[in-house]
Symmetry: C2
Subunit: 461 residues, 2 copies
């Protein structure tokens, strides 16, 4: 038998030419998005003021399993993809595990994460529609960077509302976005009505993703039709674009004659997890195979493991449609000491439904344990992971250690979503012993749950 | 004809198993390193107190063209190599040039540059010799990061003397080294005799590479034999290890049925340039082909274009052997406003000899022109380049624009040595219009030349 290589790159010819739409094989669909005023399901037309038309179509498409990737997007994918499927030989050796650990590494592009896969698609459709630009929010900055890159490529403007505390803590993220002509506003700001309202109520707030989404949506809606809002996670369309991760992984594993027993991904809004697991989850739903699929989230922002499956707003300002998802409440703001990203209050409706229906497991970890894993991984595999990605590493290590105990040589696949170059303040705190863990009490969580919309659909949660 | 792919990765089987030693095909050898006390050529044994024995052997080897890469090093190379050979379709289109532009991208590893290729080798030989660790200097931090990574992998200690101004300006570089257990001391420091001496003479100095080298050498020599000094550039052994860049490039181009008309690399101490050009320069020396080979350096540190070809110390404290090279004088310190790396006062003796003998051209650029090229490249090719690498980009763009004028479809290959994530202060200054150019006057350079050693060998320069 030929030895399995450390890194497997598909050739350009082997790269997927279609995205995969998991909804088309789901036995039951996620509950529909609701119009916040009428509480009726959003139609494609309802979405046009917010999203590009093609993206609105993709958002609601429950029937087409495969959707062609436009050639121009394929060309850009070829500029930074395929991403490698890597066999973690050195990590396996360090752990002394019989498990085979693979990871799909999405960090080898300048945005530093998988976010570029959807940014390119969304910028492309905005250009096709003749728009002048897009608006968005960013927290840690990965999405804002990816979108700035994509918009720069298509000569679109890119207005990024960046969560204020990140804006102040991560000046270099801001600088990278500026290289790509991104225009960055700390959020909440006085440039939007909703921003001014939030500032009037909470003058000292350091912002949240939910606030920044509200501002970005308002900026798009008030652009006289010249701009649309784009989002880097949560949405069905984003999971569709990110399916490239899972599709490439599956093709690469097939070339190695491998199939994962366990698929692991970190979960904030669900973009990486939904993309990575897509084809494997399809196999599971259709009975072709039965891999364990594990979502990993921070103990300080535990939407799947401790949230409610309820209708909620996607933003803090309550200007977006409502989605049924696992949520901590749109008013939930993670503890300021939380350093590891994945801070969103909700979770992709697709993943929420699959989790609710028992197709997926979820675990949560405290951040010091996550950074333990990150540093071990960096030293053995020579890649400095993003803290977000390190959640998946932590879980993969723990599963590999269980294999060591049981003697089982399971095949583990996890998603390494990105690199940690812009997270060095968090790493320094960890190395200096200044990182604390925080697990919200039930009472803490109740504050967030109190912000859930009081609508009939939520009566029995 | 099949379209040339955007990115070509060799398979593991196609990766080189030997380094290439350019000296073995040179018609005339570089002048030998001299012992600073006796002015006699250094013997292998003379080098043992400073370098590992195998590395001392490699340093002096003028006869073996191919040197086996030990299997353990090959295994580590496979963890982050092969690096892609990329066709710059988008840049070509933006320039409207008939030229075909290729670049070899060495930045996709956590150290962020090609430096890891030699760091891995030097750490390996230190481990083989049973040492407890190594000492080194770092300026911008690429080499210190790479060496920390490599030492962490082999469980060696890594003492890094970091030029004080970089230490203060780049806290995140320091943090990355700490993840890999690197121990970092700002230089000049009070931990060495030479450091204390320099501080007594220049209490306000912000340090230089030359000072940091002096301190690192002293720390190794005074370790009771438990440590050795390692260097990331200039040395023959480093160029040997970096030949992996050129060898992979040549194999990949052969697969595409291509051969470069022009090979371009940035040049500080010469590690990347020497590695990239090695097999192409061999073809040129032996008459198999005749590519133009261009070294690109900053106008503010112009060792090839305005330096003297003379014997000089490799460090400011004058504790190292002397090498004959193009040099600005070991007392030369580049202007503080210079942001683009490549700040070393000298140049690899191998490259110096080849340049002196007419095998190579050299050009210099002011830094604003370099950052113009960096930003254009980032926007079109979606990779944020290190400022060092952007020197090569600038030259490649200018050569491609010449092709546009002449209508010639030349094939250009350049080395993209690394990424710019840790250089965002410089990018911000550029974007804010706060970056100035500086070209030293002849009188400025004379100050450096005055520091050249007053020895018989230098009488006629």
């Amino acid at each position: 038998m030929t030895k399995i290589p450390h890194r497997l790159y598909l050739t350009e010819d082997q790269m997927p030419k279609q995205w995969f739409n998991l909804r088309a094989v789901m036995k039951e669909q996620p509950d529909p998005m609701l119009h916040p005023a009428t509480l009726q399901p959003m139609t494609e037309r309802d979405l046009y003021p917010i999203f590009c038309e093609e993206l609105a179509r993709q958002e609601l498409d429950e029937t087409h399993a495969y959707i062609d990737i436009p050639e121009e997007i394929q060309e850009i994918y070829k500029m930074y993809r395929p991403s490698p499927l890597i066999r973690a030989y050195a990590l396996e050796k360090a752990l002394g595990t019989p498990a085979k650990i693979y990871y799909k590494f999405e960090g080898n592009n300048t945005s530093g994460s998988h976010k570029l896969n959807s940014a390119v698609a969304q910028a492309y459709y905005a250009k096709q529609q003749g728009l002048s630009g897009v608006t968005t929010e960013t927290g840690a900055g990965q999405w804002g960077t990816a979108l700035s890159e994509a918009c720069s490529y298509f000569d679109l403007t890119c207005d990024v509302f960046m969560v204020k505390c990140s804006y102040e803590q991560k000046p270099f993220r801001k600088a990278v976005m500026r290289v790509f002509d991104g225009s960055i506003t700390p959020s909440p700001s006085t440039t939007t009505e909703v921003g001014r309202k939030i500032l009037a109520e909470h003058p000292d707030t350091t912002g949240s993703l939910g606030c920044a989404i509200s501002e970005a949506v308002e900026a798009a809606v008030k652009s006289n039709g010249s701009k649309r809002y784009v989002l880097g996670s949560v949405l069905n369309q984003v999971l569709l674009h990110q399916s490239i991760i899972g599709l490439e992984s599956k093709i690469a594993m097939e070339q190695l004659n491998e199939y994962p027993d366990i698929v692991i991904g970190c979960a904030g809004g669900g973009s990486n997890l939904g993309g990575l697991i897509a084809p494997f989850m399809a196999d599971k739903i259709t009975g072709k195979s039965n891999p364990r699929i594990i979502a990993v989230e921070p103990a300080s922002c535990p939407s799947l493991t401790r949230g409610k499956y309820a209708y909620d707003f996607c933003d803090t300002g309550k200007v977006t449609p409502m989605a049924r998802m696992y949520t901590l409440g749109c008013g939930f703001i993670p503890s300021a000491n939380h350093a590891g990203g994945l801070r969103y209050h909700g979770m992709s409706p697709i993943l929420s439904k699959l989790y609710h229906d028992g197709y997926m497991e979820a675990v949560s970890y405290e951040q010091t344990k996550v950074f333990d894993a990150a540093v071990l991984f960096a030293k053995r595999e020579t890649i400095l992971p993003a803290p977000e990605s390190a959640h998946a590493i932590r879980c993969a290590i723990d599963e590999a250690l269980k294999c060591k105990e049981s003697g089982e040589a399971k095949t583990i696949l996890f998603g390494l979503t990105g690199t940690g170059y812009f997270d060095m303040v968090a790493y320094e705190n960890y190395l200096n012993g200044n990182m604390n863990d925080y697990i919200p009490t039930d009472a803490d969580l109740q504050v967030g749950f109190n912000s859930l919309p009081d609508i009939p659909q939520n009566k029995n949660i």
